[in-house]
């Protein structure tokens, strides 16, 4: 069965807090995982005595175990992929964050016109 590196939601109402877990893909979100390898606090926080408005998010991670599980074929979810790519464990999945545009067509190709078609 597929093994996933994913988040398990803990915390309270309006105060989410996640365990980073290694679990079988088809088990329930908060069922007992194979292993808890970290935590992710998605609520941005300011440093004490810092009123610059810059916020940070706290993540605890056992990188050694994360690398091991990736090595034996565990699949991170998109969110976990994003976090793991920040510490260099995964290749970034979405490199280009800009909206995609179609490449320019060569000048000699005529655009198909709706009126010319039968």
């Amino acid at each position: 069965m597929t093994i996933k590196i994913r988040l398990a939601r803990f915390g309270r109402r309006n105060a989410p807090f996640y365990n980073i877990v290694v679990a079988h893909a088809r088990t329930a979100r908060n069922s007992k995982p194979l292993e808890v390898i970290g935590t992710y606090d998605p609520i941005p926080k300011a440093d004490p005595y810092d009123d610059s408005g810059r916020l940070h998010k706290d993540i605890k991670l056992d990188t050694l175990r994360a690398k091991y599980w990736i090595g034996v074929g565990a699949q991170p979810t998109d969110t976990m992929w994003r976090l793991l790519s920040m510490v260099g464990i995964m290749e970034p999945k979405y490199r280009n964050q800009q909206p995609r545009t179609a490449p320019q067509l060569p000048a000699d190709i005529k655009k198909p016109e709706a009126s010319s078609s039968a």
């Binding site: 365990n19 007992k32 808890v36 970290g38 004490p48 940070h56 998010k57 605890k60 990188t63 920040m86």
Partner: protein, 290 residues
């Protein structure tokens, strides 16, 4: 039948009588200021509740005393321990006064409005303590009191030979193998050393100078320890900047879970165990200053 006219209860009329006679003295504050507590039922001074003579209204530091403490610590660079020992103010209170004074001065510099009339009114109703700089002052409170350690709350039957010396060190060891003696757990262990020096015949000035030096050393040591801790934390954290937030990755060891996976400081929320964050009787507000 005529409607019944409600009559005042005896308690109500007694209260009205008291307000007219004895209570009239308490209607206005005392012209000279200071507390104006009820003096009935033989309650002494500084006992605001006549039916609860056990409650004593303790003196609070007045504006001048707080300014003096701030001045000594922040302007003259004296250590918290030395100021605490000199003025007889608890070490944590000295630290709190300095912090609050800093906030006050910050507000003043920013042009924020202070609640001065309120502060004046409250201080006017309480017994206050002020210090005269440069002279020996009466202490505000005992400063070298020991916090009760839970390990010392059990009764011990610990037979020792009469021929053997049984010191405070031994008493601490009897309670717990890692426990420090009472002499080391007090807020000012340096004061004990100073008294020992005085007993040895050292001059008071020299003993005092040695105390101040020891206090400086202990404060420097504490600051260095704090700095090392912050440095270690900084090194264990990887910071990744994104346009919106900074992500701080802290390295942990997920294998310290214990035999049953329920070790007390295991990473993450635990499975099959209640989370005590809302338990009755637990402190839920921050207990330390970051």
């Amino acid at each position: 039948m005529p409607p019944r006219i409600p009559t005042k209860s005896s308690a109500s009329s007694a209260s009205a009588l008291w307000t007219r006679t004895i209570g009239a003295n308490y209607r206005q504050p005392k012209p000279e200021g200071g507390p104006n507590y009820l003096q009935a039922f033989g309650a002494g001074p500084n006992k605001p509740f006549p039916l609860n003579p056990q409650f004593r209204s303790e003196r609070v530091l007045d504006e001048q005393a707080r300014e003096l403490i701030w001045e000594k610590v922040m302007r003259r660079g004296e250590t918290l321990k030395a100021v605490s020992a000199e003025l007889g103010v608890d070490l944590t209170r000295v630290a709190a006064v300095v912090r609050l004074k800093e906030v006050e001065k910050d507000w003043i510099s920013k042009g924020k409005k202070l609640a001065t009339p309120y502060s004046k009114a409250v201080l006017g109703m309480l017994p206050t303590k002020s210090f005269r700089p440069g002279v020996q002052n009466q202490p505000l409170e005992p400063i070298n009191e020991l916090h009760i350690h839970t390990a010392t709350q059990k009764q011990l039957f610990w037979p020792t030979a009469e021929s053997r010396q049984f010191t405070r060190e031994d008493a601490a060891k009897a309670f717990h193998a890692k426990m420090l003696s009472a002499d080391k757990r007090v807020p000012h262990p340096e004061l004990i050393q100073m008294e020992k020096d005085l007993l040895k015949g050292m001059s008071p000035d020299e003993a005092r100078a040695r105390f101040i030096k020891a206090a400086e050393q202990s404060e420097r040591k504490a600051a260095e320890k704090q700095q090392r801790k912050a440095m270690a934390e900084e090194q264990a954290t990887k910071k990744v900047n994104t346009p919106r937030f900074e992500f701080r990755f802290k390295e942990v060891d997920s294998e310290l879970v214990g035999k049953d996976g329920r070790a007390p400081n295991v990473v993450g929320w635990k499975y099959g165990m209640p989370h005590y964050d809302r338990k009755k009787g637990l402190v839920k507000i921050p207990t330390s200053v970051p």
